[in-house]
């Protein structure tokens, strides 16, 4: 008799050791190895944190992959519970995308799995655990299981002298009562690349350099605002996808799972702080020193007086040609369910929580417009797996009539979109990657409590 445990083992092995249609690697030597294991991280001199991480570091190893060149990544799970690694932003098949809900097998305790896929599209992606934490704010995305993944195009068009990969993360979570009457996570430490301000190595630059920053917000739940004192950012890509209109901005906003690629002209010699704009978050450690060559002394910070960001500024200035067929509109009403002042809220999409939240199956080849109607008091970083989407409208107040004119946004391709509370937003995507596809809020506590939906192809 085969137990459920045996079945899990078999399914894990079969899915990852067997060739998957369309994938060309089998059990050959892997291109990369990742060990998921308990680790102790020194975030600050006062904060030594036991967590789980990839290869003993948070962020884990930078994976540089070539677009359309198959790759095999060996992942060993040395933890006491099943794990899975999601390759965020890639157009992978469901069984290697890294979400058990889509059918990717779990990697059982003390087991090894091989993920073989052909990375596409090019750009700044990332990888992370895709498990549940529930009330344990040390697991899943609350842990250190995240890393950078760079899919390089065959021809690299970027012009820069030096590049840095930076991960924003919040640690040592605890639950606290919030104004919406429910519990929400708060954090004791905030870091860039796993180190609090002054505890990691500075970013060393030279005058006149163009540096390219690849910034990832790997926080389980928090939106972050980042500025570099004395400098501005020229945003060239969002979520790894080039923007139609690169612009210089004084600060960046990144919702959980979002990425920003920005060029900085190093024209202001000195020692500067790159860090969270909000004082209380920077005080938790989220900052890093940027040090020009032959400069020393205390790092300088220039406190911005307001938070400034909008997606639309990077949109195409000219409307794109309209598509011949109208998209299929899928309204998604996002709401919370009160579970008591001593609990985190549960979440529904069109009145149902995962796995009961459903919409009509996708028709391959058709264009879809997801209409997010955020009835809740929270902003939500919404993520669609295995597809990229184009931002079409944003920030429409819920009170506005659905047919009211709205600003048409074109050309911004993303896989995560922050939808503000009490607003409507729309994105479009083409159903061109058959297989089970997960849609969810990337706030760990929201996806844990029902804010997920599986899209199936017809």
């Amino acid at each position: 008799m085969i137990s459920r445990r045996d079945l899990l083992k078999l399914s894990s092995f079969a899915a990852l050791a067997s060739p998957v249609p369309g994938l060309v690697r089998g059990l050959g030597a892997p291109d990369y190895k990742i060990d998921i294991a308990p680790t102790t991280l020194d975030l600050t001199p006062r904060h030594r944190l036991k967590t789980t991480a990839y290869n003993g570091h948070a962020p884990g190893p930078l994976l540089r992959l070539k677009e359309n060149q198959p790759v095999t990544i060996e992942v060993a799970n040395h933890t006491d519970r099943p794990e899975v690694v999601h390759w965020h932003g890639l157009l992978n098949a469901s069984n290697v995308d890294g979400a058990m809900e889509e059918g990717t097998p779990p990697i059982l305790t003390n087991s090894t799995a091989l993920y073989t896929f052909t990375p596409r599209p090019s750009g700044f992606r990332w990888y992370h655990t895709h498990t549940m934490a529930m009330n344990d704010l040390t697991r899943a995305q609350y842990s250190g299981q995240h890393g950078f993944l760079m899919v390089e195009p065959r021809d690299d068009p970027a012009r820069y002298d030096q590049e840095f990969f930076l991960a924003l993360h919040d640690w040592a979570g605890y639950l606290l009562a919030s104004d919406d009457g429910a519990m929400n996570p708060g954090y004791a430490v905030a870091t860039i690349n796993g180190k609090a301000m002054g505890f990691g190595e500075p970013l060393r630059v030279k005058q006149g350099q163009r540096i390219l920053l690849h910034i990832l917000n790997s926080s389980p739940t928090e939106v972050h605002w980042i500025a570099l004192a004395g400098h501005s950012f020229r945003v060239v890509a969002l979520d790894g996808n080039p923007v139609p209109t690169p612009r210089s901005v004084p600060m960046l906003r990144l919702a959980p799972a979002e990425r920003v690629c920005a060029v900085v002209e190093m024209i202001n010699p000195g020692v500067w702080v790159l860090g969270e704009v909000r004082k209380h978050v920077q005080a938790l450690g989220m900052a890093v020193v940027v040090e020009y060559e032959n400069n020393s002394g205390p790092a300088q910070w220039q406190q911005p007086s307001e938070l400034i960001w909008n997606y639309e500024q990077f949109a195409a200035s000219q409307p794109a040609d309209s598509l011949s067929e109208s998209p299929i509109v899928v309204p998604l009403v996002l709401e919370s369910k009160f579970r008591g002042h001593g609990a985190m809220e549960a979440w529904t999409i069109n009145g149902n929580s995962y796995p009961n939240a459903r919409v009509a199956p996708l028709i391959q080849g058709r264009r879809y417009r997801l209409q997010f109607i955020n009835n809740s008091l929270d902003d939500h970083p919404l993520h669609l797996h295995r597809h990229s989407f184009e931002l079409r409208s944003l920030g429409t107040p819920l009170a506005a009539a659905p047919e009211a004119p709205r600003k048409d946004i074109r050309g911004i391709i993303k896989d995560v979109l922050l939808v503000d509370s009490q607003t409507r937003a729309e994105v479009e995507f083409t159903a061109d990657n058959p297989g089970a596809t997960l849609f969810h809020c990337h706030q760990q506590n929201h996806m844990d409590l029902g804010f997920m939906m599986l899209l199936d192809y017809a």
Binding site: G181, Y187, G340, H341
Partner: protein, 257 residues
């Protein structure tokens, strides 16, 4: 919670309910002033003057409580007690000051823990013990829709007939349930067992149970309404209470702070 200005069982004739509240562990946020009005009406209570102390029956007590948050883990509260009664008019009763600290959320303790201490004066017409001191540990916990709090308070008379009676034990507790996001209901229990080491006989103890509701209409408002019954002869037998609180942010709070 300051149920009585004096240690009631030590001075059973000094029943005087001015602030009837079980404290939660949370403190007022920094740069925020919490203004509360405690309105308590004794429907059935002591009916005669004892040792010069007014009877409690049909006394209407209005207590203004001002609490200022100092930082993320401390606050200080100030009370102005008043009483209104036929034949006595509106009278100032006394004032107390109450600093409080708590375990910060970031420590990640499984329960909320706080410690307050309160010292103050009340006129002899309302309490023979005119100066009192209290130390109050506070432990609370929210689990889903349930809320639990316990305040095992210790009280001492600093000036008055009971100055030599040592510490009194006056615990209180609360259990409530969130019926909706706005409406919670529950039970509050207040007791005073007398001096530690010399527990009062039951009939001299204070034992009160309140049926209460909390209305969470807004993060800035606090509303608590209750009806309480006393189970011993030393306790006021029927009291109606209400707390109306409003938070005022006086600091310059901006998104970048």
């Amino acid at each position: 919670m300051l149920l009585a200005l004096a240690c009631l069982p030590l001075l059973a004739h000094a029943q005087a309910n001015y602030e009837i509240q079980v404290y939660g562990a949370e403190t007022v946020a920094p740069q925020t002033l919490m203004v509360e009005l405690h309105s308590n009406f004794t429907v059935e209570g002591q009916q005669s003057i004892v040792d010069g102390v007014y009877p409690t029956r049909h006394q209407e007590h209005e207590t203004v409580e001002l609490t200022e948050g100092l930082n993320d883990w401390s606050e200080v509260g100030f009370y102005i007690f008043t009483s209104e009664q036929d034949g006595h008019g509106v009278q100032w009763v006394g004032d107390h000051i109450r600093p409080r600290v708590r375990v910060p959320d970031s420590w990640g303790w499984p329960v909320g823990v706080s410690l307050s201490t309160e010292i103050g004066f009340q006129r002899s017409a309302f309490s023979t013990d005119t100066w009192t001191w209290e130390i109050r540990p506070i432990i609370d916990k929210s689990i889903g829709r349930w809320y639990f709090a316990v305040n095992p308070a210790l009280e001492r008379t600093l000036h008055g007939p009971d100055v030599n009676q040592g510490l009194g034990f006056a615990p209180s507790a609360k259990i409530s349930y969130d019926f909706t996001r706005v409406v919670s209901g529950g039970i509050e229990w207040y007791a005073d067992y007398g001096a530690i080491g010399n527990i009062s006989p039951v009939h001299k103890q204070q034992q009160q149970l309140f049926l209460v509701t909390d209305l969470n209409v807004s993060p800035v408002w606090e509303i608590n309404i209750g009806v309480g019954v006393g189970a011993t002869s030393a306790t006021d037998h029927l009291i109606v209470k209400a707390i109306l609180g409003r938070r005022f942010d006086w600091g310059r709070h901006s998104l970048i702070d």
